[in-house]
Symmetry: C2
């Protein structure tokens, strides 16, 4: 059996980060939760370990988390996106960065301006990092409850198809369907879809809206 990659989650103490950490750890992945504050990261990791009864989750300061991980997932709030990338640029070289960022303007979400957040990340980080966009449209809350089946599909965008493939395999191991949906420019629409989901939650009798892909095989 191939060795599972160590997965580090930057900005990992938020809803999406801790939810992903849980789902990954119960599938046997070693997970490093990263935060700007080492203390906060360690506290979150300790809580998750206690809740799950597994020893696979560790907390570190973001930079250490990147160094310790094979595959890095970025789940910082949108306002911290650029600063986080700049501070982690050197340590990210040679790795896959999964960027979950969706830029949403509240209270009236509009389609975001191109280039997409993951495209901005790729440009800032350079060719040494393979950026993959994923998780923009999932309802973070749905990850938290392990008893709950995950109902959302994940649209995955990347310039590098092989990097996308690796990320899709991991997502599918977590019990979700994942679809390659185009390059990092296409991620602009995936971000926009998050804005539509915010509207759908607001205007229809539905909570935690996400999407599934339908079709025939």
């Amino acid at each position: 059996m191939e060795k599972k990659p160590v997965i580090s989650i930057i900005g990992g103490t938020g809803n999406l980060g801790t939810g992903l950490a849980k789902r990954l750890a119960v599938k046997g992945y070693k997970v490093i939760l990263g935060s700007r504050s080492e203390e906060k990261a360690e506290k979150s990791a300790a809580e998750l370990k206690r809740a799950l009864g597994v020893d696979l989750i560790h907390g570190m300061q973001n930079q250490e988390a990147v160094r310790g991980g094979d595959l890095i997932i970025l789940t910082v709030v949108q306002s911290a996106h650029e600063a986080a990338l700049k501070s982690l640029k050197e340590d990210l070289q040679g790795k896959i960065l999964v960027d979950a960022t969706a830029r949403i303007k509240f209270p009236n979400p509009k389609p975001p301006q191109p280039p997409s957040a993951p495209r901005r990340a790729q440009t800032l980080l350079g060719e040494g990092v393979r950026v993959v966009a994923a998780f923009q449209n999932v309802a973070a809350q749905s990850f938290a409850d392990l008893e709950k089946e995950l109902e959302s599909d994940v649209l995955v965008c990347a310039d590098d198809r092989e990097a996308a493939r690796q990320v899709i395999d991991i997502i599918e191991e977590l019990g979700m369907q994942a679809y390659y949906a185009g390059d990092l420019d296409a991620a602009n629409t995936v971000e926009g879809l998050t804005a539509l989901l915010v509207n759908i939650n607001k205007y229809n009798d539905i909570h935690h809206a996400s999407i599934q892909v339908t079709g025939s095989e």
Copy 2:
């Protein structure tokens, strides 16, 4: 019981137009198929009437179709969008126009430039027409086979919520879920989603990809 609106479908002899006409007619709607060619419209209508055994579908030249309809659905090919709107502008005044247009560049679909096609339609037609974006993401082929349950949800965008409500009610009568997803600017993302679906069909083991909204009530 309220009288059902007469629904005219402009560019109605294509896959989406004839599919919608079938689904509407079996629910008791009177449908006018419009085409630039009256002969072509009449031929399509006659075929559908024969296939369905109902007398509710008529074929007319586009302008006559608009005059005869209470609610107009625009399903012309994207290259004919602007010209069709210009030629029908006067006759559309006072009506609801459902614009199904999604601008897709082949062979490599990218997120389309704003403003959205339905926003362009609203600007061109003026305030006397209430434009509603819908049906951008449905696989036209899925409408044709009446035995087949419709698996795609419909995202509906409009500046006028009441017009959106009327369109949502009709879509739900056809057996689909419809969700109000924002104003006509938001439709730019819905168009982009069509491009993502083209990519999803191309790169994954799936045909006629569309989307469903998931969530909890």
